[in-house]
């Protein structure tokens, strides 16, 4: 009913190739963006911005970065957090040492530094595959935070090695309020998601998928494997670097290298596994699941009368429920939450017919 496609004809090839071919999809997306950028800032409160929406958006972006590499190009990586750290510390230093550099440019330069590092650690991907490649990216995960801790220059010789956010100003507007930081994050994430969608539909994206599905075959049909793989590492690093900057500056306001440890890499990996490999929507669904569900459980538990169950045990029970849910979801749909959405959408398009 909502998905009536009758009357929507493509009269030109370009119309047939567009990202959102159905009018309903375009409408829904526009509505969502208007809601996120226009309505949410009016109705949200500090808690929603600072504790839910900003980390959700930043982790979605980090998932997107890893998904380009793992989900589209098929290269496994456990170094996501390290590239986030590199991006954050690089952006901090650009901002600190170059007077009057616009904030977004610093973010971009931080992303470029992360991309460069990512390419360096991605070089072994030209020779090794799969689990062996994880070892190389794991090296990045240990080396980069170690370097950031070891050399005080990176944190401007802060006694504890912690960096803190520069004043958040974009084109003269002060974005240091919770709403401002939310809009900053939203703007960056939407722009980069739009870019990613176009990349994965371009020749490069199709090359990645060919490499992912069978690299020998891809090489045979003339795709340059080194170029495809290293570009995947570079773009993934760029996205992760910007996610790291947002994490440090828009979300926490301060960060230390240990904030980007191995468990953060795993968190990003779980986001794309639960959300769906090779899907852009999946990153948002996965991040929502990882960020929102524990909060939902913990807020629900807060409604229990105090003293009923020991506070420490209650925390452990929440972890068990969350773990059980992850297992249940993955058994139900191994291809992730994005696949569930696709199935639902396919059924909605056919409705009320069943086949």
């Amino acid at each position: 009913m909502f998905y009536t496609e009758a009357g929507q004809f493509s009269t030109r090839y370009a119309a047939d190739r567009r990202v959102f071919r159905l009018r309903q999809d375009r409408f829904a997306l526009a509505l969502l963006l208007v809601f996120a950028a226009g309505v949410v800032p009016l109705i949200g409160n500090d808690y929603w911005f600072n504790a839910i929406l900003i980390p959700f958006l930043v982790l979605s972006l980090a998932g997107l970065g890893l998904n380009l590499l793992t989900g589209y190009a098929g290269q496994l990586s456990l170094g996501s957090a390290a590239f986030m750290a590199a991006g954050a510390f690089a952006a901090y230093n650009f901002q600190l040492r170059i007077e009057g550099l616009p904030l977004l440019i610093s973010f971009g330069l931080g992303g470029l530094v992360a991309a460069l590092l990512s390419v360096v650690f991605g070089l072994p991907s030209l020779r090794i595959k799969g689990f062996y490649l994880i070892v190389s990216t794991l090296a990045a995960q240990f080396l980069i935070p170690w370097v950031l801790v070891k050399y005080g220059w990176f944190s401007n010789h802060n006694a504890s090695g912690v960096i803190s956010a520069p004043p958040l100003q974009v084109i003269g507007a002060d974005l240091s309020t919770p709403v401002g930081r939310y809009l900053l994050t939203l703007g960056v994430v939407v722009a980069l998601t739009w870019l990613a969608k176009n990349i994965v539909r371009s020749e490069l994206g199709r090359n990645w998928m060919a490499v992912r599905d069978m690299d020998t075959a891809a090489a045979v049909i003339g795709i340059s494997l080194p170029k495809a793989k290293l570009l995947a590492f570079a773009l993934s690093g760029f996205y992760l670097g910007i996610a790291g900057s947002l994490w440090a500056f828009a979300y926490l306001g301060t960060v230390e290298p240990h904030g980007f440890d191995l468990s953060r890499s795993f968190q990003v990996l779980f986001i794309i596994i639960i959300g769906g490999l090779g899907s852009l929507l999946g990153n948002f669904l996965g991040a929502a699941f990882i960020v929102l569900f524990p909060l939902f459980l913990s807020n629900l538990v807060g409604l229990l009368p105090p003293g009923l169950i020991d506070a420490g045990q209650l925390e452990n029970v929440q972890k068990m429920i969350f773990g059980a849910l992850i297992i249940a979801f993955l058994i139900r749909e191994p291809e992730g939450l994005a696949r569930i959405w696709q199935k639902f959408r396919a059924r909605a398009r056919r409705w009320p017919l069943r086949y």
């Binding site: 600072n50 504790a51 006694a159 803190s164 926490l252 230390e256 409604l303 506070a311 925390e315």
Partner: protein, 438 residues
Amino acid sequence: MSFLKPIALALSLGTFSLASHAAAEQYFPLQSYRIGPYAAGGTGFFGGFIDYLQHVNANGGVNGVKLTWSECETEYVVEKGVECYERLKQGLNGAPAAATNPLSVGIAYATLDRSHADKLPLITINHGRTDSTDGRVFPYAFPLQLNPYSEVSAIVNYIAQQVGGADNLKGKKIVTLYHGSPYGKETNEVLEKLAAKYGFELTLLEVPHPGNEQQSQWINIRRIKPDYVILRGWGVMNPVALKTAQKVGFPADRIIGNIWSNAEDDASPAGAAAKGYISITTHPSGTDFPVLQGIKKDVIDPGKGNLADPKRLGTVYYNLGVVNGILNVEAVRLAQEKFGQRPLTGEEVRWGFENIRLDDKRLQELGALGLVQPLQLSCADHEGGGAVRFQQWDGQAWKLISDWVQADRALLRPIIEASALQYAKEKGITPRDCSKES
């Protein structure tokens, strides 16, 4: 939809209780941690804090204003701490929040700017960011009693006492074994300055997090043959250090533990290797103090105590929680004298913290003489004390072996101010003029 019913019921109950708690209350948001690697510290500290608040309530609250609190689990993880901060800062059922006490350096760093924006004091007792001592740049941060610089300065002063005066420090060898984290590194710079001033030879050795492997560091120490080792540990690093020291034959009574290496849980897992180990403390352990006896009578004996294991009453972490409770409540009480006997906003409570004056007479009234050091805070000085006592592990419990040893705060103050000013410049903050504060 039957499963939704309990949820709906719980929601409606939640809103119902909102209405029934309209009485005048002061709220303490607790970003506690009861699970995870640092649960021993969290359960002890927050247990002591909550029990003290219950004790105050049992005696009529603060001028009739009852204290209330709720907990949010952080697991010592920064993001969770931030989430908890945002969740709890609004107060509870209309009771305004007085101050946050995260007991975590990482969370304190992440909520520093937020505390400033929300005008809610951030209490980091015995830890925190050293330069937040300068209240002109950090109006809402309070590293009460002892900041990291004072901590090492007091240790060096104690070593000077042991070797017969600061002049004799010249040529002595001191090794600092520190945790490879921002917390561990915080004091390296100031230790180097102290070494230059007193002329002792300083060696800084890092132990990578979490610190369960220290063989090479201690072999290095045996080669250096230092007069003292300052142990700047955290969690599992401490007992491992003591055991490894025994293995390489370094005497435990030449190891001086810092403020996060001073609990029962740090020494007792090392067994016999810990006997003779010295550490600093800002408060003795034990239950002899009138305030702890009061807590026992009002809270523990009626079975309302917060500790799962009542035997931990009077341990280092528990007593730190009690001390923290005393200081928080004292700030509320002082602020009430100025602003009226009602629930106060964070901004008003901050005034209370800045005006804490604890002398022996007041400590006697609080039943905490000997438990809390004399403290005097001001607009510019958010630390106040800077004194520690030294204690020695006898194999079963800590025994005090020194009187209060004062840090050289006059020496540290310019370093702190310089660091605070650098922060102010980075952030574009104009320091307050303290002569204009009432």
